[in-house]
């Protein structure tokens, strides 16, 4: 169940093509949502709302994780990493700026996935919950994009960035409690999940979709934002460290 998008990494270089974009980022997550929703019905694990909301928020990970990785990976692939790292502008700002479009992309995917998924499964959300849901998706997507940047930075160190990002996507599927309710997961997995993006955004979104109001969802949203901030800082630090290191060892291009 985790491999979805594993080889998508090969398609990523063609993301600018509409068919690839639609295929990978819109249709893929939709089928993933349907898969888990029907599985949930069959096994009586949780109801449709649980799966629709959770998987819609999770859909943002593809854009965020692969996008963030790509932001760093592409620079290297096209040999522009040196130029970016040596440009007089703040390197950190350059890279963080690159995460934003992917976060935006993530929100778009999450919205489409949720709308279409809910329509197909005949699920209705309270109208008042929509602004809150959008907020949850935005926070989740941003956290994902920063998480992706962190992975991209790690990719600078571990030759193949795509291994890192694909493994990460697999783990997110399992540990965020989106598809297996966290009550059913062992405690240590839940603990790890709390430090991953999406976990809190998904639980906030579920509260909102159930009509509990923004106040009830606020603590979870806050935690998600905190996780995102954590990864933003981590990404910046890692980039700084690896940059200094690569300058010292002159391994910028051969990394």
């Amino acid at each position: 169940m985790a491999i979805g998008g594993v080889l998508a990494y090969r398609a990523l270089f063609n993301w600018t093509r509409p068919a690839i974009f639609v295929g990978t980022l819109l249709v893929g997550p939709l089928f993933q949502l349907l898969f888990f929703a029907y599985l949930g019905r069959q096994l009586q694990v949780a109801d449709d709302r649980f799966y629709v909301v959770g998987n819609a928020v999770l859909a943002a990970t593809l854009a965020g994780v692969f996008g963030g990785t790509l932001a760093v990976g592409n620079e290297r692939r096209y040999g522009t990493l040196g130029h970016v790292l040596l440009s007089p502008r703040s390197r950190t700002a350059v890279f963080l700026g690159r995460a934003l479009p992917y976060a935006g992309n993530g929100v778009l995917i999450a919205v489409v996935t949720m709308t279409v998924g809910a329509t197909l499964l005949g699920l209705r959300f309270p109208v008042g919950a929509i602004p809150g849901l959008l907020l949850a998706m935005a926070v989740g997507s941003l956290a994902c994009a920063f998480f992706g940047l962190t992975l991209g930075a790690l990719g600078l160190r571990f030759r193949d960035v795509w291994v890192v990002s694909n493994v990460a996507v697999a783990l997110l599927l399992l540990l965020t409690g989106v598809n297996v309710p966290s009550t059913a997961l062992p405690g240590w997995m839940v603990k790890i999940g709390e430090f991953l993006p999406i976990t809190h955004a998904a639980s906030a979104a579920r509260d909102l979709a159930a009509g509990h109001g923004l106040a009830a969802a606020a603590p979870a949203l806050g935690r998600e934002a905190l996780v995102g901030l954590g990864y933003a800082i981590l990404a910046a630090v890692l980039l700084k460290v690896f940059e200094t290191e690569s300058r010292r060892t002159a391994s910028l291009e051969t990394l």
Binding site: I3, V6, L7, N14, L39, L43, V163
Partner: protein
């Protein structure tokens, strides 16, 4: 005999080439653990605690399908990138004999996912590997893998021509898992998916494996699975011949 030898040695060469990629190796180490874990906890959360072995088998088969799906599409794209697609299409053989070893190889590397998922299930979650029909299970697994390889050939024949087959690949993973009831037969699916499921070799392969695991008439499912796959092979073979000619006309064999 000579052709069989060629197919076997060709498959072996491609298994070697595929299984030595560090990307594939890392993914192969991690993914089965995640798959097994996900399946086990989902089943435990539901009311299917007794069916954990079935969950592990299903999750493993899902891995085989992923390998065939991405492998058959990705391998051909890879051949193109490595510049080997031209070299293998240039040999004096029918295209099907050249491509089939590649797609069967993707099924074979997928076997690893099946075995690893079962192993992790045993190791981490103490799932007892007591199959109702052990021999039936082995036969069904072998048939399933070869069958998926043949099905992969049908996919491959479309992928040779399309430079952006990835779009299709990325969307085909979950639907096949879902519709063919790999993890668990899904009775709550809309009725119109029934006929689709009935013509997919994956449905019958999954069924055969399940019957061998938990009891049931294994052989009819195995036979149907093999029959549909041979049909895929025949159609794929014809379409490959056509596709090869189109590719020579459209100049899509060389680097995309």
């Amino acid at each position: 005999m000579r052709t069989l030898r060629m197919l076997a040695l060709g498959t072996l060469a491609h298994v070697k080439q595929m299984s030595r990629s560090s990307f594939e190796v890392t993914i192969a180490l991690v993914v089965p653990i995640v798959q097994a874990t996900l399946a086990v906890y989902l089943f435990r959360a539901g009311h299917e605690r007794h069916a954990l072995l079935q969950a592990a088998v299903g999750a493993g088969l899902m891995g085989v399908w992923s390998s065939v799906l991405f492998g058959s599409g990705g391998a051909i794209q890879n051949q193109r990138w490595q510049g080997t697609l031209e070299m293998i299409m240039l040999v004096p053989r029918r295209p099907v004999l050249v491509i089939l070893p590649i797609t069967v190889a993707t099924g074979l590397t997928g076997t690893y996912a099946l075995l690893a998922t079962l192993a992790w299930g045993r190791l981490l979650y103490g799932i007892r590997l007591d199959f109702v029909h052990p021999v039936g299970f082995v036969v069904a697994a072998v048939v399933c893998i070869v069958a998926l390889g043949m099905f992969g050939l049908l996919l491959a024949s479309t992928f040779v021509l399309m430079r952006n087959a990835n779009a299709l690949t990325n969307t085909l993973e979950y639907p096949i898992w879902l519709v063919s009831g790999m993890l668990v037969p899904i009775t709550v699916l809309p009725a119109w998916t029934g006929p689709i499921a009935a013509v997919l070799p994956t449905t019958w392969g999954a069924r055969a494996l399940r019957e061998a695991t938990t009891g049931g008439p294994v052989w009819p499912s195995v036979t149907v699975c093999l029959g549909i796959s041979l049909l895929c092979l025949a159609v794929g073979s014809i379409s490959l011949t056509y596709v090869e000619r189109r590719a020579r006309a459209a100049a899509t064999l060389a680097l995309a």
